[in-house]
Amino acid sequence: MPSTQTPPLAGTATDPTSVRPAIDDAIIERVELSALRARLEALKAEGFSMLLDLGAVDYLGRAPRFDVVYHLLKMPVVAATVAQVGAPGRMRVLCGINDGDHVPSVVSLWPSADWAEREVFDLFGITFDGHPDLRRIQMPHDWEGAPLRKDYPLRGPARERAPRPAFALKSNVQAGTPPSGKTLAALQEQIKKAREQ
């Protein structure tokens, strides 16, 4: 079988979502920030009763820089059999925002957005207006920076190692087991000698 691999497309590194038609079952829609809240309210009224997930992606170098992604699911809100649930409609709403833009919170529409929005706030530094309790959720409360941003380093600065005290250096201890067999006592003797020097 020939390889299905295609060489990477040049120049598309900043927004891969725009270069390819949808490959999953969801209907994908891009919404402007100003129309986001109204559109989500309309979708909820349309029957998208479950907010499956809420996340964000950082396209560093693109304008607008971030995408906030809402995954919605059309679910019955009463007891339903497998046939009644069927294949529920899926919707993915993407909204591009700039660094510093405030996104309207959807906690009042779907209470489950609470922790998801806190997580986006925590890891991307995106603020949600109207969230009842917007604070860090995964990182410690006094953490600086938003770890999932692309310009956030994978590692922190290297810590300086405290130097070993001279008596603990291997070079100050004679190699080999002393012939007496009293290893511990002999080692302590050596350490004592090294300390005195």
Binding site: T4, Q5, T12, T14, P16, R20, V77, V78, A79
Partner: protein
């Protein structure tokens, strides 16, 4: 960038009148992991609560952005450590969708994946049942559950080489065919299972203490469950028969004959019954998968750009050597695009939203953690109940903190 945050102090939950503020966890045996719950209580009654998560945050999503596509899979298996194969399953399906090779996966590989996913579901429910029963004072159930789980972990070890994180599924198929004697061991498990289930049901289902502790505790209406994004057994115990395996079949689940157990009571006892029934349905799927595995066949896709060629060919073919070298040293590349793929994990809909920009590493990998959303509904469920019932609710929601915090 300014991020003002409220520090974590008892003042998060306000004092009112006789109310007392209590921190439950993060080192509490019945929170099933490092969960802290700030409780405002009046006597034994919970007035308000605020779960604090994040104690187990390990930055898996950030790490994944810096690993090869094949290395990421090792990491995602660490999220839901009770059902590692489910995570790997969802991830490989998503990557295969991005690669456009979903239809080219060999039949046998798909069946083996289903077998692994269902085995891991039974093992995960065993842990839930055992620990849930321990919370309620029934210690011996735990041993029965772990005995059954032990058999499954042995099977995972035989297939993938490790008990907890087998890393057996691969993009393009699975890592080598099942070892000799594996199917006979599956047969032995199938033969042993009904007896074990009878014992489990006998220990708990009609147990008056267990019923007293769980019936009418942690009630959740279908509307509440949907608005809190609850999925999996808790959603089905509220009456909504949403199962990704039926709603959006993947990997050939449409060819298996199984039911989606539901209950309409929506309490902790209903969730317990749904899990028991689900284990039996999983066994039905395992039996059918077992029959399909009688016919041999390839277990990985025949594409040397994605799957390294067999080791024996390296000494014979220059091309095979080059492919092998390429895959080991720089991995494979995935065409640009974004995809959301979900599977029915033991805890609910597990999803990965993956963005690729054509490189040999994912650009972004966002998890849809079922445990996190299931746990979150405690805020709506627990107020007005006893602290002892809160323990039952946490147990019946079955959170796994590797996944909640990632």
């Amino acid at each position: 960038m300014s991020l003002s945050t409220t520090p974590l102090t008892p003042e998060i939950v306000s004092h009112e009148g006789n109310a007392m503020v209590l921190s439950m966890g993060p080192q509490h045996p019945s929170t099933h992991g490092v969960l802290q719950i700030m409780l405002e209580i009046e006597g034994e009654n919970v007035i308000k609560l605020e779960p604090e998560i994040g104690y187990l945050h390990t930055g898996i999503e950030k790490n994944c952005e810096n690993l090869f596509w094949s290395q990421v899979q090792t990491n995602v298996e660490r999220m839901d450590y009770l059902a590692p194969s489910s995570n790997a399953f969802c991830y490989v399906l998503a990557v295969e969708k991005l690669l456009g090779i979903t239809d080219a996966i060999p039949e046998r590989a798909q069946v083996i994946r289903v077998l692994q996913a269902e085995l891991t579901r039974i093992a995960s429910h065993c842990v839930q049942l055992g620990t849930h029963a321990i919370d309620l004072g029934a210690i011996s159930v735990f041993f029965y559950c772990f005995d059954l789980r032990e058999n499954i972990l042995d099977l995972q070890e035989a297939a993938g080489g490790a008990r907890m994180h087998p890393n057996y599924l691969r993009v393009g198929g699975v890592n080598g065919d099942l070892p000799d004697g594996y199917l006979e061991r599956v047969d032995a498990l199938i033969a042993k299972f009904p007896g074990r289930m009878r014992e489990l049901r006998g220990l708990l289902q009609a147990n008056p203490i267990f019923q007293d502790r769980t019936i009418d505790v942690g009630y959740m209406s279908p509307a509440d469950a949907v608005s809190w994004s609850v999925t999996g057994p808790p959603l089905r115990a509220s009456g909504v028969a949403y199962d990704v395996r039926k709603a959006l079949p993947y990997s050939g689940y449409e060819h298996y004959d199984f039911d989606v157990p539901t209950r309409t009571d929506g309490d902790a006892y209903a969730r317990f019954l749904v899990r028991l029934d689900e284990m039996e349905q999983s066994l039905r799927i395992i039996e059918q998968a077992r029959k399909k595995l009688n016919t041999p066949g390839p277990v990985v896709i025949d594409d040397p750009k994605i799957v390294a060629p067999p080791k024996e060919t390296i000494a014979l073919s220059m091309e095979a050597l080059i492919h092998h070298f390429k895959i080991v040293s720089e991995g494979f590349r995935v065409p640009p695009g974004d995809v959301y793929q979900s599977v029915e994990g033991p805890r609910g809909e597990l999803g990965y939203y993956i963005v690729s920009n054509g490189e040999n590493r994912p650009y972004r990998l966002r998890t849809r953690p079922p445990s996190m959303y299931n746990l979150q509904c405690l805020k709506g469920m627990a107020p007005g109940n006893l602290i002892a019932d809160l323990v039952v609710m946490i147990g019946s929601l079955d959170p796994v903190f590797g996944e909640v915090d990632r």
